[in-house]
Structure formats: structure tokens, C-alpha cells
Chain length 357, copies 2
């Protein structure tokens, strides 16, 4: 590896706690058991609050200040006709985000989540109302060559790290989402490289391809993978070869957030690919994230294998962070329950389990 | 059947629409497809909003005014030692509800749901701060004889109908929950009678029985079922034999709400039993309810067989309406998306599917 380009990244990786603190888990479980409900009866909400406390490093976790970062970028591979929608829709949807008319805006408004739209690499003139971290006007077609340079990949990751660190100073809980026509193809490529999945396992219909479109997308991915030398032990090289600016920046965000104890809720397939990148740099990032939902996108199940189960399974495949935002609502409820429920003692409710001890 | 006791019930059943209106479904689906997202990409949220619109009988459903009714009652069968907690906990928990310290209070506060606590038949002196519809101070031990008289069963159903109709005039979306030590035993008995399930399929650990407690609860249920003549075609007789006041009143609520176009979100195992009662009176009530979550209580899966899949699966088994309330949050998000998202035309986003047509 080129060490100079990895300075910020390596430093951040070094700041991520390697194990979840066990002492916090036992304190949190003890409080859960003191609250007026049968033990364990809130199911995974109890487990999720334990994890949230461990990530935040406190016994009384908080989820009052919530944010959603939507990373946006274009993809050269759309030249190959891998998406139902034209590339310009990325830009059109960014404008829709800025005006507040997209699905993610509606959910975040309803749930009190502050939304940030990040231009990681959208084609066309500079956009208003976004956080401008644009690396370039979209990636290069990775069926023909590298999607980006190593230097661009590093810059995308570093920008994400900076945003993640910054968010950690202002928020208690974050979600991530994305917009990028063609990015399911890049995410599929990342899934293949990092997990050894075959293209047919990794490629899905994206925004809604028919059977012929799906077969074509698989063929494009197979050919693209043959173009590149792929070494999962060199995650920066993998990102440069087949990644996307918004995916790399999201991976950086995960690392930056994890290094500062900010829990992040993943969305679906694309954020899952960002997680694979982040994990390749720092396996312990797995302790710091929640998988918000199981996407209907083919390949997401493979991506989620052996991880904490996703919180929701609503057959959604919209992206933008919509699944993450809904899951953040559940986590917020979990934290409220943990903080606000009366104890058996406070409510003078008989706790036979306690008495029996 | 004794027709005089069934007047209100029969009249209500007659008011429930037999089929969901197809014209509303197509109008709602058309709007979903005009919004800035890939078609169908919000998964079951889209389907749920279609159903909500059909129940409300309007093309623009609304979920602004939300309520939760928690029905509370005691159970004579607790004499048999079927629960981990003593009967008095029902009463203690009602007081906890009234003070706002229970799980259901916390979730409803967080999600903006107005909570009503209904005394359907709690033992002891009259309670403050509740809707008093008390039928008696708990049911009789149904291992020894009928849980209640047919007249009491009818009164419980009628009170529920009245509350459901009343709620329909004030709210857009309702949830139901319950509190009643011993009521998983009654719900298991109802599951056996209405579906033909065997006691071992229907009985679970409730608030947390160990293996010996579980075996004892099964034996009690088996013996109790042998005591009663059970005819699913006489639902009032079934309720009288093995029901509970809070379960019967909740069943009435479902009928009353359905007759007035108020969608109701079910909670878990106990509300599932109430649904079985309501469905025995009026099969079309199935069109008017949502199953909020899959409870961890053994037997709930059997109860949910062949129904709309539950929205959440979080391993919860607390009751009180907690699973229903969380699902109401998701439905509220679904309605917000449907009402507030920009259309392709409004946002000037390219819709290739539309163009291709």
C-alpha cells in the first residue's frame, strides 16, 4: 500500500475501539430488568439499546439528535445500459432532495431527523443546497478501466471520515443513504470482490430491470470483473477499480463515526457495500453499525450473511436512506423505553422474579 | 343463538363492508406510481396504504389522529398457577398506565398516539383515570366452569363495539392492546376452539414460564377444554366458556371500528385471539385490521397463519399494545410518504417507465 495516501484513514482505523465494552452491557441489561415488563419482553429493542450504549460508551444512551446523510454520485458504468433510469436522474433527484420532495425528506421530517445531502460526485454544474464534497463529475465506466484513481478513492474516504467525525460532535444517532443511478452495479461488484459472491448472486434488478435487463447487467458485471486485478486486502485499490464516489464517502463516514462513538444505521444494498469497504479497513466497524432493513434487492441477503439481523423487512428497495430512517425511528423508541419506563420499585409493581431470587 | 342478546352485535356485523373497494385501490396505486421513486420500491408500505385507504373509504387516507385502547381484565384461571406473576399485577400495571410509566405510555408519547386505558374487568376497588366498562372483578376460573355468563360476554362485546364506534368519530387510526395476568391462557383456549389447534401448539411461556410451568399450563388448558362444550359457530358461547372480559371487549372494538371504517392495528397473541372472536362474528373484519407484529409468544405464528403478514418481527412479547403502536408509527410514515412526496411531474424528474408506455 501507498502509506502517504492512507494517513487519515489509518489514523481513523486506529481510533476505532476493537471490542464492545462488556461492563456497559451488563449495566444496561440490569436496568432493562428493573423496568415494569417481563424480562426480555421487548425482544431485540433491548439488545439494540445495549449495543447503542456500548457504541456511545455510556450506560444511559441517547437518541435525541438524529441525522441522515445522503451521499450522491454518478456512475460511468451507466453507459452500459445497466439501469432503467438515465444518469441525469441522479442530479434531478438531488434537486428533489434539496426541495424536500423525496421519500427520505418525508420520513426524516416525520421522525425529526436532520437531513444532509452530500454531492460526492454528481455530473453537471455545481448544485445548490448540498454539502459539496464532489470528487469528480461521476466515475469512469469500470467495464473499461478503473472507476477512479487511488487518489480519488482516498479523497472520497477522507471526506467521508471528516463528515462522520463532524456528525459525531453534533448528533447522537446517524443514518446513511445514497442516490446514484448505476450504483447497484458498483455495489454488486464490491460484493463480489469482498465476499467472493458470483455475479449472479450479486446482481439484482435495481430500480426495476426486466429479465433481459437483468441478464445484461450480469454480463456487464462479469466482463467488468475480468478487467480488474482484485485484491480484497487492498481495499483502496478495490474502491478505485469498481467503487463509486458516494459509496466510498459513505464507507469513510462509517469509519469516522465509529472512531468517535457515533452509532450509524445502514440502509440497504448500497450502504451494505460501503460497510464491506469500511470493514476491509477496520473489522471492528461492525460493532458500531445497525442494519436498518432487509432490502428486496437481490444480493442484500448475501451481504447481510453472518451479521446482526436487520431490524425491518418491509420489501423496500428505494435507497436514499429510507430503510435506515424507519429503523432509526424504532431505535429512538427503544431508547425512550429504556430511559422513561418506570421501574418495578418506582411503580410499586410486584416483581416475582426479583422476589424469587 | 339467543337473538335478543345479539341485537347490537348483529346490527354492527351487518354494517361491516363485505369487500374492500377495488376502485380505491387502483386510484391509490396510480398515485404511488406517480411519485418520485421506482415503482413498488416502498414495498409493503405501499400495500398497507392501499388497504388503509380502502378501510377509510377515501383515496387520500389520513393518519393524523391516532389512538391506542388498552383493555384490562383479570382471569380466574390464575388460581391454577398458570402465570409467573400474581393476579394483583394487572391492577398494579393499570395504575402504572394511568401514571404514564409503562412501555405503552412511552411509545405512545413518542409517536403522538392518544392512550386510553379501559377497565374491562379488573379485580378490586374501582380505579381512577380509566374508562370504566368493568363487567365484573375478573372472570371465573374456566378450568372449573364457564369464565363468564353469556350475558356478560354480550355486554363485554357491546361495550367494545360502543368504544370502537366512538373512536371512529374521533380518530383516523387505532391500535389495541391489553393487560391481564393469565390472559395468554384464555387466548390459547380461544385459539384451540376457533382454529382446532392442539394445546401444545397454542400454549406458550407468557411472561416467562420455565419448562415445568409451561407443562403445567398445557395440562391446565387441556383439562379446561375438556370441561366445555365448544362450538365455534356460537362465538358468544365460546367467549363465555373460555374468554376474558378484556379480550371480548377488544373483539367488540374491532367490530365497532370496522363498521365505521376505522383501521385497527392488532398487537400480538391476545389481540390475535380477539381477532378470532371478531372474525367468527364477521369474517369481513379481516379487511379492516393490520397485524402489527409477530409476537415471540408460541402460538402467535399459528394464529397468524393465512393472514396478512405482520409488519414487524422484533421478538417482542410484552403486550399492552406495544407492537401495535410501533407498527402504527410505520403506517403513519407510509401515509406521510403517500401524501407528501413529490410527483415526477412536480419535481421534473425523468420517469422512463412513464415515457416508455
Amino acid at each position: 500500500m501507498n502509506t502517504s495516501e492512507l494517513n487519515t484513514i489509518e489514523q481513523t482505523v486506529g481510533e476505532i475501539r476493537l471490542t464492545a465494552p462488556a461492563d456497559i452491557a451488563s449495566v444496561v441489561r440490569e436496568r432493562w430488568d428493573s423496568l415494569t415488563k417481563p424480562r426480555g419482553s421487548l425482544g431485540r429493542l433491548e439488545d439494540d439499546v445495549v449495543r447503542l450504549a456500548q457504541i456511545q460508551g455510556v450506560a444511559m444512551p441517547v437518541a435525541d439528535r438524529r441525522c441522515m446523510y445522503v451521499f450522491c454520485g454518478d456512475h460511468g458504468v451507466t453507459e452500459e445500459g445497466v439501469s432503467l433510469y438515465p444518469s441525469v436522474v441522479t442530479r434531478e433527484m438531488v434537486k428533489n432532495f434539496v426541495r424536500g420532495g423525496a421519500a427520505i425528506n418525508v420520513i426524516c421530517r416525520q421522525l425529526g431527523i436532520t437531513t444532509f445531502i452530500v454531492d460526492s460526485g454528481v455530473a453537471g454544474p455545481r448544485l445548490e443546497g448540498v454539502i459539496d464534497r464532489r470528487i469528480a463529475e461521476g466515475t469512469t465506466n469500470f467495464r473499461r478501466g478503473a472507476a477512479m484513481t487511488r487518489e480519488q478513492a482516498a479523497r472520497a474516504l477522507e471526506s467521508g471520515i471528516e463528515l462522520g467525525r463532524d456528525a459525531a460532535g453534533k448528533f447522537d444517532l446517524a443514518g446513511v443513504g445514497e442516490m446514484g443511478i448505476g450504483n447497484t452495479t458498483a455495489a454488486s461488484a464490491l460484493l463480489c470482490v469482498f465476499t467472493g459472491a458470483k455475479p449472479e448472486e450479486a446482481v439484482g434488478r435495481g430500480t426495476g430491470l426486466d429479465d433481459a435487463g437483468l441478464a445484461h447487467k450480469r454480463a456487464v458485471l462479469t466482463e467488468a470483473l475480468a478487467v480488474h486485478h482484485r485484491d480484497p486486502a487492498d481495499p483502496l485499490g478495490v474502491v478505485a477499480a469498481v467503487g463509486g464516489f458516494e459509496i466510498a464517502m459513505m464507507a469513510g463516514f462509517l469509519l469516522g463515526a465509529a472512531s468517535r462513538g457515533l452509532p450509524v444505521v445502514m440502509d440497504g444494498f448500497i450502504s451494505g457495500a460501503a460497510f464491506l469497504i469500511a470493514q476491509a479497513f477496520a473489522p471492528a466497524v461492525a460493532n458500531c453499525v445497525f442494519f436498518g432493513h432487509r432490502s428486496a434487492e437481490h444480493g442484500h441477503a448475501r451481504m447481510l450473511a453472518n451479521r446482526h439481523a436487520p431490524m425491518l423487512d418491509l420489501g423496500m428497495r428505494l435507497g436514499e436512506g429510507t430503510g435506515a430512517a424507519l429503523a432509526m425511528g424504532l431505535l429512538t423508541s427503544g431508547v425512550a423505553l429504556y430511559r422513561e419506563m418506570a421501574t418495578f420499585a418506582e411503580a410499586a409493581v410486584s416483581d416475582t422474579e426479583r422476589i424469587a431470587k
